[in-house]
């Protein structure tokens, strides 16, 4: 089947604002595919060019070089065109208008072309290969061929939608598809199983990360009628991660399902000798003298591919396990939390840490326990039902997290970007900053907390304030004031202020407050300093 048709379907997906319509269009397309092509098309839609798990990347500079080679346009023109368009794939398609041989492209050929590009060892080889490809196929197909490489379709298409489209194509329910995908974490593999009517047999595999089960956030202690059914533990401010171990091998995966094994040799050493196999859910923490250190400290470890002994000594890291996903070749997800915990404790290697759990009914007051957790250097509390199953990717009512707002800041919007899906035509993602004398320095970006009505109003206002445009991003004059809540502050090179708020969310749009009265960089510095104490 053809990649050309996939590109046309994506154009129609881009053109409709309706989520259902997008899913239906893709589902119809996928349902016409053979097994191999269903897997290929799903992979492309998940922006994975190749079947291997190795992440190949090809930078924008290389893509631009190939485009210059194919079209003869100079760097300045290509740059300017990119600035107007805002997307590399689209720029490629537009600049190759009437310049290619318009040969048809099948899904199989597309895969071959990708593997030949990535087979090139030097960037120059890859660029040369891409330039040839650029002159061969239809511009519309090349647009999406490149979007698969750059990793963002920009047509309001999240993995959720592709998941539902695969469900339609294989006649499973979206729920069944989601559940299977959460276990496996690789939609193309799930699509293959679905095509073979084997979706229910899909199992989490050791050394392949699965989605994490999530807790529903609540700002205050809930009214719980049967406290004896709930367990309470501290919510750590570390890196949620999975440790998979067995047969002399250890792999560690982050919340984003990225492998981060190399940064934590002491954890690998601890788990390298476990008998059988196991996969754990838990938290990596920088930890000294029985107390967790600030998240920023831990981050210095995360960014390393390998870690020196000195760094291991100066920032010691522990893994605190709190759940068991897999044991000796069997998934434990269907067991109750209590059953999983008892197996977890039995199977941990010597020196392994496990989170402390208390019964909610034993606690005098949840508020006091929350304060105690904060004193222990932790973020808040988790409440989990004793009988809860491990449901990957779900945020249900069986796990709750009590987090109190760290602080709020009044900030000003400095840039706005269009949203996705229902909000695709609105400016719903806001970058915001604090005041530093006459300047405004960014401290974060948020896209939740306002109603659609407010976003619509803001969109109109922000368009009027736009003074510069970089593709989808509009730089605006700093006039709109928001109050944001967040869970912490860390150092960040991403923003000019040098700080980034953690999990910022918009509390309200402050029409009553002037830009002159918003919070300053000094306030941010003081809040950060307080977290280090």
């Amino acid at each position: 089947m053809s990649f050309d048709l996939l590109a046309e379907v994506c154009e129609r997906v881009a053109a409709t604002p309706s989520r259902n319509q997008k899913v239906r269009l893709l589902g119809d397309y996928l349902s016409q595919q053979t097994e191999t092509n269903l897997v290929r098309a799903t992979r492309f839609l998940c922006t994975q060019p190749l079947p291997t798990e190795v992440a190949f990347s090809l930078g924008h500079a290389a893509l631009r070089a190939a485009l210059m080679e194919a079209t003869g346009w100079d760097l300045e023109t290509v740059r300017l065109c990119y600035r107007e368009v805002g997307d590399t794939g689209e720029t490629v398609g537009l600049l190759l208008h009437n310049a290619t041989r318009n040969l048809p492209l099948t899904l199989e050929q597309a895969e071959q072309e990708y593997s030949q590009v990535f087979a090139g060892r030097r960037t120059a080889d890859r660029v040369a290969r891409l330039a040839e490809i650029f002159l061969r196929y239809r511009p519309l197909s090349l647009k999406y061929f490149v979007k698969v490489i750059t990793g963002n379709f920009r047509i309001g298409l999240q993995e959720r939608l592709v998941e539902e489209a695969v469900a339609i194509a294989t006649q499973y329910s979206p729920e069944e598809m989601r559940e299977a995908n959460h276990k496996v974490g690789r939609l193309p593999d799930v699509a293959r199983a679905a095509y073979r009517r084997e979706l229910h047999a899909v199992q989490a595999r050791i050394f392949h990360p699965m989605e994490f089960m999530l807790a529903k956030p609540i700002e205050q202690a809930p009214e719980i009628t049967s406290p004896q059914e709930w367990l309470v533990e501290d919510k750590y401010d570390g890196i949620r991660s999975q440790v998979h171990a067995g047969e002399g091998q250890v792999k560690i995966f982050s919340r984003g399902l990225e492998e981060i094994t190399g940064a934590f040799p002491e954890i690998c050493a601890l788990f390298s000798q476990v008998p059988g196999t196991l996969a754990l859910d838990g938290e990596l923490l920088a930890y000294r003298d029985g107390k967790a250190l600030n998240f920023t400290v831990l981050q210095q470890r995360l960014q390393r591919k390998s870690v020196s002994r000195d760094l291991q000594a100066s920032i010691p890291v522990v893994f605190i396990a709190y759940d068991l996903l897999h044991l000796n070749g069997q998934s434990t997800a269907a067991l109750t939390l209590e059953e999983r915990r008892s197996l977890l404790i039995q199977s941990l290697p010597e020196g392994g840490l496990v989170s402390a759990q208390k019964s909610l009914s034993e606690l005098a007051s949840l508020d006091d326990e929350f304060a105690a957790a904060r004193l222990r250097g932790n973020e808040g509390l988790l409440l989990k039902r004793r009988d809860s199953r491990y449901e990957p990717g779900k945020r249900g009512n069986t796990w709750l997290k009590v987090k109190k707002v760290f602080a709020t800041l009044d900030v000003v919007i400095t840039a706005a970007e269009q949203g996705h899906g229902r909000r695709a035509t609105m400016l719903s993602d806001y970058t915001f900053g604090v005041r530093d004398g006459e300047r405004f320095l960014n401290v974060g970006k948020a896209y939740s907390g306002l109603t659609d009505d407010e976003i619509r109003q803001l969109t109109r206002i922000l368009r009027g304030l736009t003074h510069e445009k970089y593709g989808r991003v509009m730089l605006v004059r700093p006039e709109v004031v928001l109050e944001v809540a967040f869970d912490g502050i860390q150092k960040s090179p991403r923003h000019k202020s040098g700080f980034a708020l953690r999990f910022p969310r918009i509390l309200r749009w402050r029409t009553d407050k002037s830009v002159a009265a918003i919070d300053t960089l000094e306030t941010v510095q003081a809040l950060y300093a307080a977290t280090l104490e």
């Binding site: 053109a15 300017l80 065109c81 107007e84 368009v85 805002g86 689209e90």
Partner: protein, 319 residues
């Protein structure tokens, strides 16, 4: 080399002797005492004036291809494919020919004449879409897309809404819809120009001025300012017919569901073709991507320069 004839081309400031290339308000602006333009342009221009105002103006209608003598030069208007009445101006003096294009395209417009390419020594040309990313539909393809969007939307029980500027695009879309039998309402600002489009030979069977009470089952052609009002009524789907619709980010900028890249300006390849076809040895670029387009032309061996606002003014003054 430039004929010194005291004539201003589409000036933004009030001047004595003025050429209007066409009736868009960014070109035909102010109330200069003496104006040359085609008669269609003069009629459209006068319609913008409140009836109560009297200005002493000498409006000189030009006929295509018939030269007019002025201060030792010959001025000739030639068709420009843009909106009804649009014209290029050829200025010939002592055997030297300068052409000012105004706004135009090479493709045939839905309403209005096709561009006549005039050989000249010096060309003053616009570059609204002077980057190689801009490719536009021809009038046939645009017609098909406009009709398909209107019919599909009506078939779904929703109201198709086309956004367009009051003069030019609005009448073209209304003409396409109405002559294909689709009941159409147009915004009052567009409706007032219909009689002049009819004089030019374009029909608008059954087209009515927009009324909020009777818009069900009809296609609407309105100004961009009405978008939010109509969206609030629900069940409206918006098409954006414009050169800017060639880029996907127009979806955010216009909030439109359907992007139809059809323009009354030349796209990039038309601009290149026009420049080559005139044979001009000197080219001045006056609007849009002036610097980049001048650079692209220079790399192709043309003697081209971007006229900044300041130089454009002095050149206009010299002309």
């Amino acid at each position: 080399m430039i004929p010194e004839i005291d004539l201003w081309l589409d000036p933004r400031q009030p001047k004595a002797n003025v050429w209007f290339s066409h009736a868009h308000s960014d070109h035909a602006t102010g109330r200069p005492p003496k104006v040359w333009a085609t008669s269609a342009t003069l009629n459209l221009y006068r319609l913008r004036w409140p009836e109560t105002i009297t200005v002493v103006q000498h409006l000189i209608p030009m006929t295509f291809g018939i030269p007019f003598a002025w201060q030792g030069a010959r001025l000739t208007a030639w068709p420009a494919g843009h909106i009804v009445g649009a014209a290029q101006l050829e200025i010939e003096k002592d055997g030297y020919r300068l052409v000012y294009t105004g706004d135009l395209k090479l493709k045939q417009p839905i309403c209005g004449l096709s561009t006549t390419v005039i050989k000249c020594d010096r060309l003053i040309v616009e570059s609204t879409f002077g980057l190689p990313i801009y490719h536009f539909l021809d009038h046939q393809a645009a017609r098909t897309r406009i009709l398909q969007f209107a019919r599909d939307t009506l078939a779904d029980g929703a109201t198709p809404v086309f956004l367009g500027y009051p003069l030019g695009r609005g009448q073209e879309i209304a003409h396409v819809l109405a002559t294909d039998g689709i009941p159409t309402s147009v915004h009052g600002a567009m409706h007032k120009f219909l009689p002049l489009y009819e004089q030019a030979g374009y029909t608008f069977p059954g087209v009515e001025a927009y009324s909020a009470q009777a818009d069900r089952g009809r296609a609407l052609v309105v100004t961009p300012g009405m978008r939010d009002y109509l969206e609030a009524k629900g069940d409206h789907r918006v098409a954006y017919v414009s050169g800017w619709a060639a880029l996907a980010n127009a979806r955010t900028r216009s909030n439109a569901h359907e992007l139809i890249p059809y323009s009354d300006h030349a796209d990039f390849s038309e601009l290149l073709d026009l420049v080559s076809a005139t044979g001009a040895s000197e080219i001045d670029i006056v609007h849009g991507y002036t610097e980049p387009f001048a650079r692209i032309l220079r790399e192709r061996g043309f003697h081209a320069q971007a006229a900044t606002t300041e130089t454009a003014r002095t050149e206009e003054a010299e002309a």
